[in-house]
Symmetry: C2
Amino acid sequence: MKQFTLLLIAVGTMAGLVILMAPARGHADGEPAPFVTEIPHGYRDWRWISSAHEAGNLNSLGAVLGNDVAFNAFREGKLPYPDGTIIAALHYRNVPSEENNKVFGQAQSFVPGAPTNIQFMVKDSTKYAATGGWGFGHFAGGKPGDAAFMKSCFPCHEKAKASDLVFTRYAP
Amino acid sequence: MKQFTLLLIAVGTMAGLVILMAPARGHADGEPAPFVTEIPHGYRDWRWISSAHEAGNLNSLGAVLGNDVAFNAFREGKLPYPDGTIIAALHYRNVPSEENNKVFGQAQSFVPGAPTNIQFMVKDSTKYAATGGWGFGHFAGGKPGDAAFMKSCFPCHEKAKASDLVFTRYAP
């Protein structure tokens, strides 16, 4: 079964509060930082790739969207993702739906609550050559994660290349 | 907080196995059935409205997509939804992601597993006048739910009109 392991999901939903990743290794200070610092235009119109739920402290419910380059590559099973690919992970608190639970007769239904952060992966094999062609972005309240957060929590070097090897479900 | 209570979600993910709803009342045998029996074309390209997670026996993770009419009305906060609206709910088993859990160091990450069903709400105030303008569809393995299932589990009359009153989150 194909499962989705988008790196961004693993970073979690509590930007600045939870540092989940081991510090990035192998990213020399002199190298250009592989961090996306502007929110890609129009991402909210992109197509749906997958959903994601984090239990435990993160308690997150989200969606993974892709721009046309990402979505078409994903649908067609083209790997590695071509340059121009942008994948967005939109995260929200996982909150109970009282209205749904009334229908079910028990507390079992959860929906997106308050937004927590939006994360991006951008494929540019030239610009982000040092991290397998992937740049990373994290935005909370419309603002990018600061340099310390970005550097500490994104597993850029070790994991970036793997992102071309893994895939989520595509429902035809 | 705006939460999503799409009727279809409440129907659950185990078509033919779990009958969650009370029998539809007030749907006289002579009335046209408000059931959508063909899968709307191109739904997998529609834009993302929301995600949904059902815990408990259903153990479902899914997404709610909307065609352009639905999505634009949703984004703009136009209620009631105009004719031409189609909303799709794609349901999957909620399964652990071993790859994500390795990163987190604990079992907390869930992704869509095997697909269970796809459900639709179609707004046509003439065709589905008897059910608040909404038609309903449920498909598992590409096949529509049978008449008994559809009739027994969709709360058409009581709940349909409420579907214009509720909304999910729109993340700008």
